[in-house]
């Protein structure tokens, strides 16, 4: 039987506000343990929460960025469950009356385009961090657990999608798009590896064509966009095998294991899901009137979908336009370069190719490098003028990124300036033609296949500095 996956994704995003959701402790990654804590975020007896106004506005921005309605009346609730890194043993979250409801985003994959519904965006607080000491660092196998509450109370947004995704590829595209929206809004670091953005997926399978849902499984711990896709691919296969064997899928939470590429059931008792939500009596409801909503809406930056449209209009391929629209730093440099007169497609290809690869290799973000739009435009102009070969340009790009100087300086110091004037090139061309007279004869008799070989010989003899276009022109002259 053929099965259709039904996937919904919950995305948690830590906001980059200055202070925490309900107290004045700083939001900061990597501080010494238990230094960014106060009575409120440590859940000390007697402490009370107060809502961070900026966090509410950031949440509204996310909602608006995902085409949601902003609820005129929303309420915080307590979600009750015991866990040692959650100081109050309840999480202040939103339940039946979230801040943002009923939005969508559009995604595009090789499988086509799709609209994915956003059920809700709600505000909550993050937990502290547990470090499990003991055999393999595995939960349960450890002899003890260490707790750091610096992260406890960091504003956390939960974005819940409708179960509209039908493949692992779509799920990844959705995750990428949500990340792109949040990143463009400038309200989060969206660093998956540091946990400031986290994805959980609900996935079930049903016979193709069915309209009811199968038993769903929640998959957690997918720490990269790639692992979202891998984990769901694995889970689709696993569930299909279970169903094909005539067995039933167990409703449970499964942990994605990046190393061995599998999911495994997590240990939890049935009662863990009885969260006993009730309205948080220490907080009052949030009322958003039209004036407030439109003030926040008017401050929204351009969203990826709009940027993508503009980039497509500039002649970029869909995937390139998509990447530049989501990776706002790349997009900004791209626009600066084009603004300075560079060719859009060339610059875009550099940014999505060499530049992205270099940043990944160096584990850096674009703003940490020395590349800007002006440098890219300068580089592209050098290529256009024939001063640099396409290969040499990539070399120069690496030098610019690592701070060796402007493109001209790098090309100079790396000795990559291309020779294109005939007077300088003719002796080298003539020498090659003389040494390869057989090939030259073939060319003259109309066999153009040998042209590439001859050019290659000239490039080799000039150490790659010859301008292939000029070389071609001279060879053609000589061939008559």
């Amino acid at each position: 039987m053929k099965f259709e996956p039904v996937i919904g994704i919950e995305t948690h995003v830590e906001l980059t506000t200055a202070s925490k959701m309900f107290c004045g402790c700083p939001v900061e990654f990597g501080a010494p343990p238990n230094t960014n804590v106060c009575p409120v975020c440590l859940g000390l007896p007697g402490a009370l929460p107060v809502v961070n106004h900026t966090a509410v506005e950031y949440a509204m921005k996310i909602g608006l960025g995902l085409q949601c309605e902003i609820a005129p009346h929303s309420v915080f609730s307590r979600k009750n469950y015991f866990y040692p890194d959650m100081p109050k043993n309840y999480q202040i979250s939103q339940y039946d009356l979230p801040l943002c409801i009923d939005g969508y985003i559009d995604i595009e994959t090789d499988e086509g385009s799709a609209r994915v519904g956003i059920t809700r965006v709600h505000m909550e607080e993050d937990t502290g961090k547990s470090t499990h000491l003991g055999a393999g660092g595995r939960i349960g196998a450890g002899s003890q657990t260490l707790l750091d509450f610096n992260r406890a109370g960091v504003p956390l947004m939960e974005i819940v999608s409708e179960p509209d995704l039908r493949s692992a590829v779509q799920a990844r595209a959705y995750a990428e798009e949500v990340r792109g929206v949040v990143k463009r809004l400038g309200v989060s670091d969206v660093k998956l590896e540091e946990g400031s953005m986290r994805f959980d997926a609900n996935i079930s399978l049903r016979p193709e064509g069915a309209s009811t849902f199968g038993t769903k499984v929640e998959v957690k711990n997918m720490n990269s966009l790639r692992s979202v896709q891998r984990a769901l691919e694995y889970e689709i296969k696993r569930q299909a095998a279970v169903l094909e064997a005539g067995e039933e899928v167990v409703q449970e939470t499964r942990h994605w294991n990046e190393e061995d590429g599998t999911t495994a059931a997590m240990r939890s008792k049935e009662e863990a899901f009885d969260y006993r939500y009730f309205p948080e009596p220490d907080l009052v409801p949030i009322a958003v009137d039209e004036a407030w909503r439109s003030e926040v809406a008017s401050g929204l930056p351009e969203l990826p979908a709009q940027a993508r449209e503009r980039y497509r209009a500039q002649g970029l391929e869909p995937t390139t336009a998509g990447l530049l629209s989501r990776e706002v730093d790349l997009g900004r440099v791209f626009e600066d370069a084009v603004g300075a007169g560079a060719d859009a497609r060339t610059v875009a290809n550099w940014l999505t190719g060499e530049v992205t690869a270099w940043l990944r290799k160096e584990s850096l973000l674009l703003p940490d490098s020395h590349l800007d739009g002006a440098a890219l435009a300068e580089l592209e102009a050098m290529v256009g003028a024939g001063d640099l070969s396409a290969t040499a340009a990539k070399d120069v790009l690496g030098g610019v990124l690592s701070g060796e100087g402007r493109p001209a300086e790098v090309a100079e110091s790396r000795d990559l300036i291309q020779v294109s004037d005939s007077a300088s090139l003719e002796p080298a061309v003539d020498a090659v033609l003389a040494a390869n007279s057989d090939a030259f004869e073939k060319l003259k008799s109309g066999d153009h296949k040998v042209m590439g070989f001859l050019i290659g010989q000239v490039m080799r003899s000039t150490g790659g500095k010859a301008d292939p276009a000029a070389v071609t022109r001279i060879i053609n002259e000589r061939a008559g």
Partner: protein, 96 residues
């Protein structure tokens, strides 16, 4: 309204390690109180909005400003068990 409480489940939810005798006693007492409390069900409340709060107030916010944190030593001095600047607890069996 007769009340029948699965007291062992409730005690697990509330993280209370009670003996069987204690569970029996608490079940009996809770059932008596709940039978009385269940009188609220006699009152017709169709169309009545719930009150979770005596105040009819909205939008109590704080500005996004960093304030002083507690002294880590003063905080950890109260910890039943610690390891350096961390609180220390036995291993976690269940996951959230």
């Amino acid at each position: 309204m007769p009340i029948d409480i699965d007291i062992a489940k409730v005690a697990r939810l509330a993280r209370l390690a009670l003996s069987d005798e204690e569970l029996d006693l608490y079940r009996a007492q809770c059932e008596v109180v709940l039978e009385h409390a269940a009188l609220v069900q006699a009152l017709p409340t169709e169309g009545v909005e719930p009150t979770s709060h005596p105040l009819r107030r909205t939008n109590a916010f704080r500005e996004d400003v960093v304030t002083e944190c507690l002294d880590t030593e003063e905080v950890l001095a109260q910890a039943p068990d610690r390891d350096g600047n961390y609180f220390r607890v036995p291993p976690i069996l269940e996951e959230p």
